[in-house]
């Protein structure tokens, strides 16, 4: 009994410690954002590294996701012979839910893991301490540029990803079900509202914030050499995935 209580307590304290650390980091980042105090060159480099380098992987994922959604809804649509609803079904699922979540998971794998690995390596090789010794603030030099880059690029890449997902869906609808792209497009235009797109984009923005904070936090709290870097990357992607789904639930609940 005492052991079980101890285990629950340890797990709870550990989680509270991590969440608290993340909140403190978020507070620090926000404090340096108004008015913006961040290294411009470093921000520019990070925007390129985060955005342009993730472009291919986001496009490929989005194409496949659009295609999968059409395949999955296609069967129901064919059953009820309601081909006019295909664009609605696939488009709704993609724009509002599956698109941002899948792009977010991909992004957390590509960018979040990379970010944690980089910061973790700097931490264990004492480069962060060296920055401090040179009177360079690690928050403004390392964290804020990454935060800005990840949040803005997640949002922009979701816009592109939504478009490519719909294109992939249209191509699959034509190839597999013989629904021509005009009908697919008309169905999207008829049944979907701007709110559906916006809903997905707001989610993407929040996912970006979550990925940025989680990956920076786990990177900066790395200890213990090469093994430690591996462990903190693992923790970072797991925490990002959980926070993506929890935030998704909360946002879905808040904005119907």
């Amino acid at each position: 009994m005492r052991r079980i209580l101890g285990m629950i307590g340890t797990a709870f304290m550990g989680a509270a410690h991590e969440v608290g650390g993340m909140l403190i980091l978020t507070g620090q980042v926000l404090r340096y954002l108004v008015p913006p105090r961040l290294d411009p060159m470093e921000t520019w480099r990070n925007l390129y590294k985060v955005g342009v380098k993730s472009f291919p992987i986001v496009v490929v994922t989005a194409l496949l996701v659009g295609a999968i959604m059409v395949i999955q809804t296609g069967q129901m649509v064919a059953e009820f012979d309601a081909f006019g609803l295909l664009g609605w079904g696939a488009g709704f699922a993609t724009l509002r839910e599956v698109g941002p979540v899948m792009i977010g998971l991909m992004f957390s794998g590509r960018v979040g893991a990379n970010n944690t690995a980089e910061l973790g390596t700097m931490k264990v090789t004492e480069q962060v301490d060296a920055l401090r010794a040179l009177a360079i603030n690690p928050i403004t030099y390392l964290i804020v540029p990454r935060f800005v880059a990840i949040v803005s690029m997640m949002f922009l890449l979701t816009v592109i990803g939504n478009l490519t997902a719909l294109l992939g869906g249209a191509a699959t609808a034509q190839a597999l079900l013989g629904v021509n792209p005009q009908l697919f497009y008309a169905s999207i235009a008829e049944y979907l509202e701007l709110a559906d797109l916006m809903n997905g984009l707001v989610k993407a923005w929040f996912f970006g914030v979550a990925i940025a904070v989680v990956s920076c936090y786990f990177g900066m709290s790395t200890t213990g050499g090469a093994v430690g870097v591996g462990r903190s990357v693992n923790n970072s992607v797991v925490a990002s995935a959980v926070s993506i789904f929890v935030i998704d639930y909360l946002l879905t609940w808040i904005m119907k």
């Binding site: 999968i68 093994v227 870097v229 990357v233 992607v237 797991v238």
Partner: protein, 270 residues
């Protein structure tokens, strides 16, 4: 030699820009196929250390149950919430929601989301573990004592991950189903008895479910092991290996999902 003449000519750079996106992923696929082949070869060539497999099953399975349950529970509630509101708006009838939901869980969400979560939880773990062994030269030490690294390190993890992916997919199916049932009852007043409606399920759904989780279970450990084994450099190399593992595994899962969904559509559902 000046700076300008050291730079390759425009034609060369153009060809390089076209070739790079083909050659680099191609090389990656070849490397992964090689590890897959070696793993299968050693799994049959020599006897398997079942004690180690069991330990890995605990490591991979038991320690992911909580994580998978949390994620899939939230996912189930989100799916019902979203599709319920849409169905109310367009179709105006929630009778079939439960039947369609369980079908979608079998075909798509239970195996795929579980696998994506395992790719992040288990895949990065394997890559980080093997990667740190590589950069600290423990793998070279294994080779020196005449133990094949793939056989010693990868085969037990491979068998354990394949088994546990199928098992955890079943767990996540159940969790997501009950979470959806709860959401249906809480938000739309759907009676759980109306919600429980397996009439639309066919055997094809079960085949697709098993095929998908099995395929993902093979892909995750092999891709992670390849990423770990190809690590080099110090702690930076381990970081790169884990990143590579999660990216490659997620892409492979999405691609396999597309492929198997297409196969399922053509063979079972049309």
């Amino acid at each position: 030699m000046t700076e300008a003449s050291a730079r390759p000519r425009f034609g060369t750079r153009l060809l390089a820009a076209i070739g790079e996106p083909i050659v680099l992923p191609g090389r990656e696929v070849v490397a992964i196929a090689r590890v897959l082949w070696l793993t299968i070869y050693y799994a049959f060539a020599d006897r398997i250390r079942w004690r180690e497999v069991l330990r890995q099953c605990y490591e991979i399975g038991n320690r992911s149950v909580f994580f998978i349950s949390v994620v899939l529970g939230f996912l189930g509630m989100i799916l019902i919430y979203q599709s319920g509101f849409q169905a109310q708006r367009i179709v105006g009838d929630l009778q079939l929601l439960g039947a369609l939901y369980v079908q979608m869980l079998f075909r798509e969400f239970a195996p795929t989301i579980t696998a994506l979560m395992l790719a992040t939880r288990v895949g990065t773990g394997i890559a980080a573990e093997i990667g740190s062994m590589v950069v600290t030269e423990q793998v070279d030490a294994l080779r020196m004592s005449n133990a094949e690294p793939v056989q010693y390190l990868v085969v037990p993890r491979f068998i354990a991950t394949v088994l546990m992916t199928v098992v955890l997919s079943c767990v996540s199916l159940v969790v997501a189903y009950f979470a959806g049932m709860f959401a249906g009852a809480a938000f739309f007043d759907i009676n759980p008895r109306t919600f429980f409606n397996p009439t639309l399920l066919i055997w094809g759904d079960l085949y697709i479910f098993l095929m998908k989780s099995f395929a993902y279970g093979i892909a995750i450990p092999v891709i992670a092991a390849e990423a770990g084994l190809s690590a080099f450099g110090g702690s930076e190399g381990v970081g790169w290996a884990t990143t590579k593992s999660v990216v490659n595994a997620s892409l492979a899962i999405t691609f396999l999902d597309f492929l198997l969904s297409g196969v399922g559509y053509v063979f079972f559902f049309s």
